[in-house]
C-alpha cells in the first residue's frame, strides 16, 4: 500500500513532478555528456600522444628515466618484440631509439630530438606519418633519410632532397656526425614536434648513435584498450622481472600530460558537481514543499495507525521514484548524446583553431565522446543517491507531523 501511495502521490501534482524529473534528467544528461566528452578528449589525446611517443606502456633501461641517454639501452629487442606481439591485448609493439642532437644546414642549426623508428610500424599509428605535408614518410629500407617538422624545415630552409648534418654524442660518448637528406616534411600542429623533432629509421639511428644491433632506448606497447593498462603493466613486470628492464606506464613517462589530465578532470568534476548541486537543491525544495503541503495527509496516516517509519518510508519512496524516473531520462538523453558524439565526433576547429596542444603535444580538434557504462551508471548512481539523501529532512518532517494540529 505504501508503494501505491508513494507512486500515486508523486503524480498528484503532475506538472511539478514532470518539472522535477526533467530537472534531474537534464542535469544528469548534461553531466554525462560533458564527462563523456572530457573523458573522450583525454582518451583521444593519450591515444594520439602515446602513438607518437613510447606507447601506453614503455620498457626501458632501469636508469634511463633519471638521465635519458642513448647509452642506456634495452637489448634483444627483436625477441622482445616478437614475444610481446603475441599478447592479445597488445595492438602494436614500437621499437624506438630516442636521442638529442644538433641539426645543421647551410642556413643554420637547431637543437632537436631525434627519433629512430620502424617506419612500417609507425605508418599506421603515428600522427607524424599521417601528417606529411611534403614528400613521403619513411620506409623500412631507407638509408640516411629523415622527415622533419615544417617549422624546423622553414627555419633551416630545408626542402625535399636537401642535405642536413646531424651532430650528436654516440653511446660511447664520442662526438659523431652523419649527413642525411630530407625525405618528407610533416606538420602536426604541435610546436614541440614541428619545430624540434626529426624522425629517421631505426637502423640509421643505430648507425648514428653507434648502438649494437637489436638494441633500442625504448620499447613501447600500444594497447587495443587503454583500460587494460594496469593488467598488462603487471604482466610485463612479472614476465620481465629477470631482465634489466623497467616497465613504466605512460603516466610516468609523460608526467606533465598525466598531471594536466588529472587537473582538468578535477576541475571538470567540480563544474559537474556544482551543476548537480544546483539541480539537487531544486529537488530538495520540491520534496520538502510536497511534504509540507500534505501535512494533513501524513497526520491522517499516523492517526490511522501508520508507524512513523512507514510514513518516512513513503516519502523516501516518492523521492526514489522521482530519482529513478529522472535518472532514467538522464541516462537516455545523456547516453544518446554521448553515443552520437562518439560515433560522429564533434569538431572544435572553428572554436579552437588548428593547433590544439596538451602539454606540448598536438591533438585533434575533432573529439569523440567516451561512451562508458562507468560514466553513465556512476553519474546516475551519484544523482540517485543524492536524491535519496535529500529526502532525509522531508522524511523526518513527515514522520513527526503534529496530528491534532494538522487534523484540526
Amino acid at each position: 500500500m505504501i508503494v501505491r501511495l508513494a507512486w500515486r502521490s508523486i503524480w498528484r501534482n503532475r506538472r511539478r513532478t514532470l518539472i522535477t524529473v526533467s530537472s534531474i534528467g537534464l542535469g544528469l544528461a548534461f553531466a554525462i555528456f560533458f564527462i563523456g566528452l572530457a573523458e573522450g578528449m583525454y582518451d583521444q589525446s593519450v591515444d594520439q600522444i602515446v602513438r607518437t611517443q613510447a606507447g601506453h606502456i614503455t620498457l626501458e633501461h632501469p636508469e634511463y628515466r633519471q638521465a635519458p641517454s642513448v647509452d642506456l639501452w634495452v637489448d634483444e629487442v627483436k625477441d622482445l618484440k616478437t614475444r610481446l606481439d603475441t599478447w592479445p591485448e597488445v595492438e602494436q609493439v614500437k621499437v624506438i631509439i630516442l636521442g638529442q642532437g644538433m641539426i645543421r644546414s647551410g642556413s643554420g642549426n637547431v637543437g632537436a630530438a631525434l627519433m629512430g623508428v620502424e617506419p612500417s610500424t609507425e605508418a599506421d599509428v603515428s600522427p607524424v606519418a599521417r601528417n606529411m605535408v611534403k614528400g613521403e614518410y619513411l620506409e623500412d629500407g631507407d638509408g640516411p633519410l629523415v622527415v622533419v617538422g615544417s617549422e624546423l624545415a622553414e627555419r633551416l630552409r630545408l626542402d625535399l632532397g636537401k642535405k642536413l648534418v646531424i651532430t650528436s654524442n654516440d653511446a660511447q660518448g664520442n662526438l659523431v656526425e652523419e649527413l642525411c637528406r630530407v625525405k618528407g616534411v610533416f606538420r602536426t600542429g604541435s610546436e614541440e614536434l614541428d619545430a624540434y623533432f626529426v624522425q629517421t629509421t631505426l637502423n640509421f639511428a643505430r648507425r648514428l648513435f653507434r648502438l649494437p644491433a637489436e638494441t633500442a632506448t625504448q620499447v613501447g606497447l600500444i594497447l587495443k584498450n587503454a583500460d587494460d593498462q594496469g593488467e598488462i603493466l603487471n604482466r610485463a613486470r612479472r614476465e620481465l622481472a629477470g631482465r634489466s628492464i623497467r616497465v613504466l606506464p605512460w603516466q610516468m613517462v609523460m608526467p606533465d600530460l598525466a598531471s594536466y589530465i588529472k587537473m582538468d578532470r578535477f576541475s571538470n568534476l567540480i563544474f559537474q558537481g556544482l551543476l548537480i548541486f544546483m539541480i539537487l537543491f531544486t529537488i530538495f525544495n520540491t520534496i520538502l514543499m510536497s511534504v509540507l503541503e500534505r501535512g494533513r495527509e501524513f497526520a491522517l496516516l499516523s492517526a490511522l495507525g501508520t508507524e512513523p517509519r512507514q510514513v518516512r518510508l513513503q516519502v523516501l519512496m516518492e523521492s526514489g521514484y522521482l530519482g529513478l524516473i529522472g535518472c532514467g531520462l538522464g541516462l537516455f538523453l545523456g547516453g544518446l548524446s554521448v553515443y552520437v558524439v562518439n560515433m560522429l565526433g564533434l569538431d572544435f576547429k572553428s572554436l579552437l583553431g588548428e593547433g590544439v596542444t596538451i602539454s606540448g603535444f598536438a591533438i585533434s580538434t575533432e573529439i569523440h565522446a567516451k561512451l562508458s557504462p562507468g560514466i553513465l551508471l556512476g553519474s546516475a548512481a551519484v544523482v540517485f543517491g543524492a536524491t535519496l539523501l535529500l529526502s532525509l529532512i522531508p522524511m523526518r518532517r513527515a514522520g513527526n507531523m503534529p496530528m491534532a494540529e494538522m487534523l484540526r
Binding site: 500500500m1 501505491r4 501511495l5 500515486r8 502521490s9 498528484r12 494533513r296 495527509e297 491522517l300 496516516l301 499516523s302 492517526a303 490511522l304 495507525g305 501508520t306 508507524e307 512513523p308 512507514q310 503534529p402 496530528m403 491534532a404 494540529e405 487534523l407 484540526r408
Partner: protein
Amino acid sequence: MSSIIFLENLVKNYGHDEVITPALRGVTLNIEAGEFTAMAGPSGSGKSTLLNMIGGLDRPTSGLVRVEGRDITRLSSSELSRLRRERIGFIFQSYNLIPVLTAFENAEYVLMLQGVGTGQRRKRVLQLLEEVGLEGLENRFPRELSGGQQQRVAIARAIVSEPALVLADEPTANVDSKTGQALLDLMRRLNEEKGVTFLFSTHDPAVMKQARRLLILKDGRLDHEGGMVAGEDAN
C-alpha cells in the same frame, strides 16, 4: 461492563511561556465499553481536544488518560500507533480520506496495516461498503464522491477492523440531515450489534437525541453529564 475510557483531572494547555490558552481544565470521566455517548458544547469548549487526547493524537499537559486500562500518556509513538491501528477508529468532521486511494482502498488501509490477508480484506471491505450503501462505488476516488458518500467511506474505514472504540468528531456536520440520520443509524446499529463503543462530539440536536449518554463540555470543563435513553431531550 468494563471501563474503556477513563480520564482523571485531564488538563491541556496550548501555547507556551506567557501566552497559554487552556483547552481542557481538569476533565474527569469514565466511559464503559459498549456505550454510545455524545459530547456537546459550544465551539472552543474542548470537544475535539478531548477526543484527540483519548485517541493519542496529542499529549495532555497533565492528568491521566486510560484506554482499556492502559495509561496512554506513557506509551511511545510506536505503541500509540499500534493502539490506534488495532483498538481505535477515527471519524473526522471533514472526512479526511486519502485522496490518492479509492473508496475501497481507503477502507482497506487499516486492515493492510494490521496485516490482514488479501482475501479476507476484500471480503470484509466489500461487505462493509455494501452495508454503508456504497456498493458499486468501490473504485471511485474521494473527489468523485459526494460529501455524504465520503463520510460513509470514513465510517467504513473506522469500523472495518472492528475496533473497541470509535471516536467521531462531528461526524454529521458536513452532510445533509437525511444523510446524517442514515450515518447515525449505521453507527447505532454497529454499537448495538457489534458492541463497538462510540464517543462523538456534535452540535446537532438530532445526534444528541440518538445518544444514550450526553456529555456537555463548557470552557474545557465537563459541565453536565447525564445518562439518557435515545429519543429523550437533552437537558
